[in-house]
């Protein structure tokens, strides 16, 4: 086969293949990539002894695989919707003073009282009663959340569904810091 006499396998230097898919004995020539060309892919080294390892996370090559950006955007949006519908809406919950964070699925709850009770049980504290005017004034802690815009909001102000769709993470703030919020 003509191919075997002309072993310019420069192309194989681009190590985007799954580990073990390219036979190392065939690689001879240095890569054509050793030029001034910029490459978007990062993984150009010839470490080819990964047969045993799990798939190496590959560097993303710009524009590969060639999928129209419109299609990409639609699929990504659908995946987001799907994940949150089916896989639950897990958000991180931090509590001031606690050594580590927790995660809860806020889609499991039907309303604010359910959520607050769950939080109280999880972190062993108590929140006061929510009032529109005073927030959680009077209690040691107040639940707050970060919304899609990145702002920190008091839990309870907006309708429950709106909260579920915009909540990115929760933080249970100590009462002393909360006083400011409660006065709004």
């Amino acid at each position: 086969m003509a191919y075997e006499n002309d072993m310019n396998l420069k192309a194989t230097e681009l190590r985007l293949g799954l580990p073990g898919t390219i036979d190392e004995s065939q690689i001879k020539e240095p890569s054509f990539l050793k030029s001034n060309n910029k490459r978007s892919s990062g993984d150009m080294d010839n470490s080819a002894n990964e047969d045993e390892c799990s798939p190496v996370p590959k560097a993303q090559v710009v524009g590969w695989p060639p999928v129209r950006s419109y299609r990409k955007n639609v699929l990504q949006q659908q995946k987001k919707n799907f994940d949150s519908d089916v896989l639950g809406m897990y958000v991180k919950v931090s509590m001031d003073g606690a050594p580590y964070l927790r995660k809860i699925d806020i889609k499991v709850y039907k309303n604010y009282p359910d959520l607050l009770v769950a939080l109280e049980n999880m972190f062993k504290f108590s929140i006061g009663v929510y009032s529109e005017r005073e927030g959680y004034n009077g209690s040691e802690y107040a639940p707050t959340y970060e919304d899609k815009d990145g702002d920190w909001m008091l839990v309870g102000d907006v309708p429950w569904d709106m909260f579920v769709n915009s909540c990115k993470r929760l933080r249970i703030m100590k009462g002393s810091e909360v006083k400011g919020l409660g006065c709004l």
Binding site: D6, L9, L16, G17, F32, P65, Y70, R71, Q78
Partner: protein, 573 residues
């Protein structure tokens, strides 16, 4: 003898020529034929909007009624071209508005279309009937509102895969009550809400409506009402298909579907609950075209159940969730299949597609009429490609895309040269080819030798040397578009046959080994080519080094010299 025919006779004869290629050929015969042809030409196709100017178009074809324009190079689809590279349609509309107001149809692909352009169309062409926008951007629903409000004889509004901003969402209600001419309405790509009541009324009064593609904001209960009013539909794109299979809505939908016996083409399902799919079983037997490539979350089992019923299917667009197993079912059920596209379901997934060469081999064995393929797969083998070539010698379009762009034959670890060689050798009518996988110069030798009808060739991460590209330029006599990325072709190949580029529409080369110096000398030598260098920004600050490699080069033949609307980052040499 022909010269004694009066012009009216010639014109009448020419009226039977619809293909623009035939018309182009006819116009080259002699001066009198040229003139008769140009006055009778109604449809013009311009594959590169910068190859000619609107003024020259109008002066040659003053009676043009239908114009097709393409803008950005193909690789713009994959984020390889700057957003503001060009392809503005406004100057064309402006020129037509002054010189050619009987424009009826405008079809645009990969162009920048502003709301101002749409408003100008709406105002300037009293007989405007058809607007088709494919992969365009730059407009909002305000522009659509202008079209809806003013184009009294609008027959077709077809929006395919455009990025459209939706600030107000009231465009649909802008169709006046007097508008009854719509035959085709496709707004599947719109992201916003639509006025559902207005939609229902529109459908009710447009008795000629044959094609309707809805966006995700149209829920099943409205779909059901629409179908009840429009059982004459031939092409349907469902929007949202999520509902409770126990519900009244679902029952109504099932019943109304049974009456839609004219539907031949089905698409959409942008949001779908797979348990509701049985509602469409009654129409499957009539379907010739099915596009489920935007339908998320339908698993292979349900897909297969559906497709098994589509015995007359000719065109299938599907996601790779169907798997090789599912493709085997397609092969056994859809004997009349001509076109198959298997897309990636997860665009970021770099690993685990369920599609391999086995699915393709099964399809080729079961569907001998297959002539058009787009296939995203995890792996491929030479043996498979050779088998496919033998089973399906009628390919016109063959586009393969392996997840890893340089993956070798999965079994032998050899390059895939021989496999693609078999395809080009067997498929004598092949017009479009995209190659993928580990490939050496050898595959290009085969392509140059055998691909006599090839017009479009896409190459990525392939070849070893300039020889590869030269084989193609020398061998493919009908080559029109060549697009190459990340391949080791350099100056020798670029400059080997500069005259060739005037016979082609365009050449794209990115991340190859061509230098500034070579591009400059090509541009100097060939004044009827525009040689554009696209800079990403940090290159070429002040004075280019001739020996430096060019990141992105796009050259195309043109009769009107360098364009004036290029952004700073695009240099025309």
């Amino acid at each position: 003898m022909i010269n004694y025919f009066p012009e009216e006779v010639l014109e009448h004869v020419f009226s039977f020529l619809t293909s623009h290629r035939d018309r182009n050929a006819v116009s080259l015969v002699c001066k009198s034929w040229y003139n008769v042809e140009r006055f009778s030409r109604g449809k013009v196709f311009i594959g590169n909007c910068y190859a000619i100017s609107p003024e020259r178009l109008i002066s040659r074809f003053p009676r043009v009624r239908s114009l097709t324009l393409k803008g950005k190079p193909h690789f713009a689809d994959f984020n390889l071209v700057l957003h503001d590279w060009g392809g503005y349609v406004y100057p064309w509309i402006e020129a037509m508005a002054k010189g050619c107001t009987n424009l009826e149809e405008l079809r645009l692909k990969r162009m920048l279309v502003s709301d101002a352009s749409l408003e100008l169309i709406a105002k300037s062409f009293p007989n405007f009937k058809s607007l088709v926008l494919v992969s365009c951007e730059g407009f909002t629903t305000d522009g659509l509102a202008a079209i809806a409000s003013n184009c009294r004889f609008l027959r077709e509004l077809d929006l395919q895969e455009n990025e459209v901003e939706d600030p107000r969402g009231q465009w649909l209600s802008c169709f006046p009550d007097s508008c009854t001419s719509l035959a085709s309405l496709n707004f599947a790509c719109l992201k916003g809400e639509v006025n559902l009541a207005a939609l229902e009324r529109l459908v009710a009064r447009c008795r000629n409506l044959k094609s309707l593609r809805l966006n995700h904001a149209v829920p099943p209960d409205v779909l059901q009402k629409i179908l009840a009013r429009a059982p004459q539909l031939v092409d349907l794109g469902a929007g949202s298909f999520v509902h409770d299979p126990e519900s009244e809505t679902y029952n109504k939908l099932k019943n109304v579907m049974q009456k839609c016996t004219s539907i031949r083409s089905l698409s959409g399902f942008l949001d779908v609950n797979a348990r509701c799919l049985p509602a469409i079983y009654p129409i499957c037997i009539n379907l010739t075209s099915l596009n489920l490539s935007y339908a998320p979350g339908i698993y292979s089992k349900e897909l297969v159940k559906l497709i098994r019923k589509c015995k007359k299917l000719q065109c299938l667009w599907i996601l790779d969730t169907i798997g090789d197993k599912g493709l085997r079912v397609v092969a056994s059920a859809c004997k009349e299949l001509q076109e198959l596209r298997v897309f990636k379901s997860d665009p970021n997934d770099v690993g685990n597609a369920a599609i391999t060469e086995e699915g393709l081999v099964a399809i080729s064995a079961g569907c001998p009429n297959l002539n058009s393929l787009l296939y995203f797969c995890r792996q491929m083998t030479n043996t498979a490609l050779i088998t496919v070539a033998k089973n399906c010698p009628n390919f016109i379009r063959f586009r393969l895309c392996t997840l890893d762009p340089i993956t070798p034959d999965a079994v032998t670890m050899q390059p895939l040269d021989n496999g693609f060689g078999a395809i080009v050798q067997s498929c004598k009518g092949l017009k479009r080819l995209s190659v993928s996988g580990l490939l050496t110069d050898q595959v290009f030798l085969y392509i140059g030798m055998y691909a006599e009808q090839l017009e479009t060739l896409s190459i990525a991460f392939a070849g070893n040397s300039d020889k590869g590209m030269v084989y193609v330029l020398n061998g493919c006599k009908k080559l029109k578009k060549l697009e190459i990325r990340d391949s080791p072709f350099g100056n020798m190949a670029l400059l080997a046959d500069t005259g060739k580029y005037e016979t082609m529409r365009s050449l794209w080369m990115s991340s190859c080994k061509v230098t500034f110096g070579a591009c400059k000398s090509l541009a100097e030598k060939m004044p009827r080519l525009n040689v554009e260098i696209i800079n990403e920004g940090d290159e070429m600050e002040g004075g280019s080094d001739d020996r430096q490699n060019v990141e992105k080069m796009y050259l195309y033949r043109t009769l009107v010299g360098p364009r004036k609307d290029a952004p700073d980052s695009v240099w025309t040499l």
